[in-house]
């Protein structure tokens, strides 16, 4: 039997298609482990950010309190949180073997993600315009690295999901690509988790001072 070509119906479609075969299970577990590793990666970035927050050369001007604009951050947060929900919808439809709806919800997820990324790029450009650049202080380096790494993850996620949607557009759901969609959604939620810490630790705590 062939994972790629076996045709399922909603009745025969397994309840947990993302881990219905050994390969799928491997990917599923492997991806979770990868996220476990990412936790430490971001923890280290957060740690460095916290240690270097507001530290720069003598008389440097930009601090967390003078810099951050919560309105933008709120917009970004809402975009990303919503995109998390839309990807939940996509997975819901995947489990129901409704390929079309899944594709649609995944596309919406990607659009929201793109929106988020655009606001972030705007924010960075704005900071650079203010003279707050990657090299202007240790604080700046740490800030851009932490937030930028998250942004990079979003960008990678967007490329990933775009490829998935495009590649499978004509093929429909099967046990081969179901895992891929599912792991993408895990990845996307994880990005959201990281963002929760970013808006809390970087922006909100930054404003509190």
């Amino acid at each position: 039997m062939d994972v790629l070509n076996h045709k399922f119906t909603p009745e025969t479609w397994p309840e947990h298609p993302e881990r219905a075969t050994l390969e799928a299970k491997n990917k599923f577990v492997g991806f979770w482990l990868f996220l476990g590793g990412e936790t430490i990666l971001f923890a280290t970035l957060f740690a460095t950010y916290l240690a270097l927050r507001n530290s720069g050369p003598d008389g440097f001007e930009h601090t967390t309190q003078s810099l951050y604009d919560l309105k933008l951050v709120l917009v970004m947060t809402l975009l990303l949180l919503t995109s998390s929900l839309t990807s939940v919808y996509a997975v819901y439809h995947m489990r129901n073997f409704n390929f079309k709806k899944m594709q649609i919800w995944m596309s919406i997820t990607a659009l929201l993600g793109t929106g988020f990324l655009m606001v972030e790029v705007y924010e960075f450009v704005h900071y650079v315009g203010l003279g707050f650049t990657f090299g202007s202080s240790a604080f700046a380096s740490a800030f851009f690295t932490l937030v930028g790494t998250h942004g990079l993850h979003v960008a990678v996620g967007l490329v990933w999901i775009t490829l998935l949607i495009w590649r499978n557009a004509k093929r429909g759901l099967n046990l081969y690509n179901a895992t891929k969609y599912y792991t993408f959604s895990l990845y996307w939620h994880f990005i959201d988790v990281v963002w929760v810490f970013i808006f809390t630790v970087v922006y909100l705590m930054g404003v509190i001072g």
Partner: protein, 626 residues
């Protein structure tokens, strides 16, 4: 495609190895790659010792000496010890758990190439004449001001190799979690598999900080970052923390698999079940966990304050307890057994006193106020070579002799093996025992020369002579390996006669699908159990012979890595050469396209039919008979 023994030309053979995703072949690649770097690192060590033979020696310059120690430490840890252990893990763990392959064959191959090309990248620094020179720890204040591209080679090379290691770690974890044969519960897994599991988990959590730290270093040096530049608000202590948050777990990543290897060897050659198996497992897990709580013991003299020092001191000492449990369990495995002193066993026997000596000096260093004296002195050099050479390297040598027949189908010569041991073991103690006193007598480490009349002259000479003896041992080993390959006397499933774990139930080397039928496991030491129950083959199938699914080989892992390798050079020369930036981008594009190709093309593997399996088994059986 699927037939086993095709006659191939040289080019085809190279292509075969470059595209292989077979865990056994990748294991051999790791072993050979690691051995190459071990010899390289060993030659560097000999240069170090030769320079220190006499006071005010001028065999190498001061700058060259720093290159040598940095590359020696980095090469040995990242490119020799770890990859060789990965070689054994790859070759053996799937066999021990009764699996046909690892969970991610493609990623396995990718991990190997990342290690190999990362290591080559690092070592190309010798050709450029700009070699990393800030020690393997690369402390930030020094590594930021180090001129030339030396440290860039370090940061980028390790970044590539480190990513490969992380992949290998995840791969082993998933393999062990998901691919165990029926009946192979966690508490029936051989100890080598267990230690692989825990070491891989440690890799998963220890390497991301290294990635981040190297990223900071790269950006500080090449792209205007300010993480460690204290004039811009940066802080060098952050590097020290990040490095040791990675670095301390790293040393347990090295020693745990070594413990695993010795556990196998002790019970095999004492013909006895491992004493206290559950506590062995528990101790392994505990060491793995505690390993993350003690990193600051490398930083006692940094000035963290008495409270931090006291906490980390006590945490450090705690590790002595689970390690002691292991030591005594091994002793009691031998106790009441039937000990046969083969070459692997000889190494295992050499390991116990050597490692205990290294371990207890570790505990001494764990006492912060005492470490104020010992830190950065030759006492430290003695400590870690006692645990690394007396633990990890002896395990590697033991494992090489023990599993050589399983990996290559021929035995290494036992007599030569024992001669190697004698030279290596005596040389090892001669080199490093005296270094404890050098430390007490006030000799700092990482000194390229020393003035006469400080009381260090004779001791250094003894130490150097010992190193030469180790070198002789290694040369004999290499000779032994070459001779065994030339003679090529084939061996059966269990050439040692006392094999206990599943790898000894199948041919040496195993066919590419490992097990014609998935085995059924009824307890710890599966093969031994079956044999004791009168099943001579030591093997109990869990299923009838069926078609076997296998993955396709692929060149993409190599191409992906090559892209990164090229990009590394681009990044490094971006500022001084016009071609830098295009090469950087070009390399990344290559990698990216290889990745896209991988994700867009379906890779479903192929089936070996039942008939082919039976045919292959028959051929192997016949080969065994003549």
């Amino acid at each position: 495609m699927s037939s086993v023994a095709q006659k191939k030309g040289f080019g085809a053979a190279v292509w075969d190895w470059m595209t292989t995703v077979d865990h056994k072949k990748i294991g051999i690649l790791y072993l050979l790659g690691g051995a190459f770097f071990f010899v390289l690192g060993g030659i560097e060590a000999l240069f170090i010792r030769w320079q220190l033979l006499t006071p005010q020696n001028d065999f190498v310059t001061a700058g060259m000496f720093n290159d040598l120690i940095t590359m020696h430490g980095t090469t040995m840890i990242f490119l020799a010890a770890m990859p060789i252990l990965f070689g054994f893990m790859n070759a053996i763990v799937p066999l021990q758990i009764g699996a046909r392959d690892v969970a991610f064959p493609f990623i396995n191959s990718l991990g190997f190439w990342m290690f190999m090309l990362g290591g080559i990248f690092l070592n190309l620094s010798w050709l450029f004449g700009e070699v990393p020179d800030a020690g393997w720890t690369s402390y930030a204040s020094l590594s930021l001001v180090s001129p030339g591209h030396g440290i860039d080679f370090y940061a980028l090379g390790l970044q590539i190799a480190g990513a490969g290691t992380l992949m290998a770690g995840i791969n082993f974890l998933v393999t062990i979690i998901n691919m165990r044969a029926p009946g192979m519960t966690y508490m029936r897994m051989p100890l080598f598999t267990w230690t692989t599991f825990i070491a891989s988990a440690m890799i998963l959590f220890a390497f991301p900080p290294l990635t981040v730290g190297l990223f900071f270093l790269t950006f500080d040096r090449m792209f205007g970052g300010q993480f460690f530049n204290h004039l811009m608000g940066g802080n060098t202590i952050i590097w020290e923390h990040i490095f040791w948050i990675f670095g301390h777990p790293e040393v347990y990543i090295l020693i745990l698999p070594a413990f695993g290897i010795f556990s196998e060897i002790f019970s095999t050659f004492a013909r006895k079940r491992l004493f206290g198996y559950p506590s062995m497992v528990f101790a392994t897990v505990l060491i793995g966990f505690l390993g993350f709580m003690v990193w600051a013991h490398h930083m006692f003299t940094v000035g963290l304050g008495p409270t931090a020092n006291a906490i980390f001191a006590v945490a450090t000492m705690a590790i002595a307890v689970p390690t002691g449990v292991k030591i005594f369990n091994w002793l009691l495995t031998m106790w009441g057994g039937s000990i046969k002193v083969t070459t692997p066993m000889l190494y295992a026997l050499g390991f116990i006193p050597s490692f205990v000596m290294g371990g207890v000096t570790g505990v001494m260093q764990g006492s912060a106020p005492l470490d104020y004296q010992l830190h950065d002195s030759y006492f430290i050099v003695a400590h870690f070579h006692y645990v690394i050479v007396g633990g990890v390297v002896l395990a590697i040598l033991a494992g090489t002799h023990y599993w050589w027949p399983k990996m290559f189908g021929t035995m290494l010569n036992e007599t030569l093996g024992k001669i190697t041991f004698v030279f290596f073991f005596i040389g090892f103690h001669m080199t490093f025992l005296i270094q404890h006193w050098l430390g007490f007598w006030g000799m700092p480490r990482r000194v390229w020369t020393y003035m006469p009349n400080q009381g260090w002259d004779l001791a250094n000479m003894i130490s150097t002579i010992g190193a030469i003896s180790m070198g002789i041992g290694v040369i004999i080993l290499v000779f032994n390996a070459i001779m065994a390959t030339i003679k090529n006397e084939r061996v059966g499933n269990d050439p040692w006669g006392d094999g206990r774990t599943l790898e000894w139930a199948i041919p040496s080397p195993p066919p590419f699908y490992n097990f014609p039928q998935t085995p059924l496991v009824r307890g710890l030491d599966s093969v031994w159990l079956e044999k004791m129950d009168g099943n001579e083959s030591g093997f109990l199938p869990a299923e009838p012979v069926k078609d076997i699914h296998m993955p396709y080989g692929s060149i993409l892992p190599f191409i992906m890595t090559l892209g990164l390798f090229i990009a590394g050079f681009g990044a490094m020369f971006r500022l001084e050469h016009a071609w830098g930036l295009p090469v950087l981008v070009g390399g990344l594009v290559v990698t990216f396209f290889a990745m896209a190709a991988r994700s867009v093309r379906d890779d479903l593997g192929f089936y070996v039919t039942k008939e082919e399996v039976l045919q292959t088994e028959k051929e192997i059986a016949q080969r065994g008979h003549n």
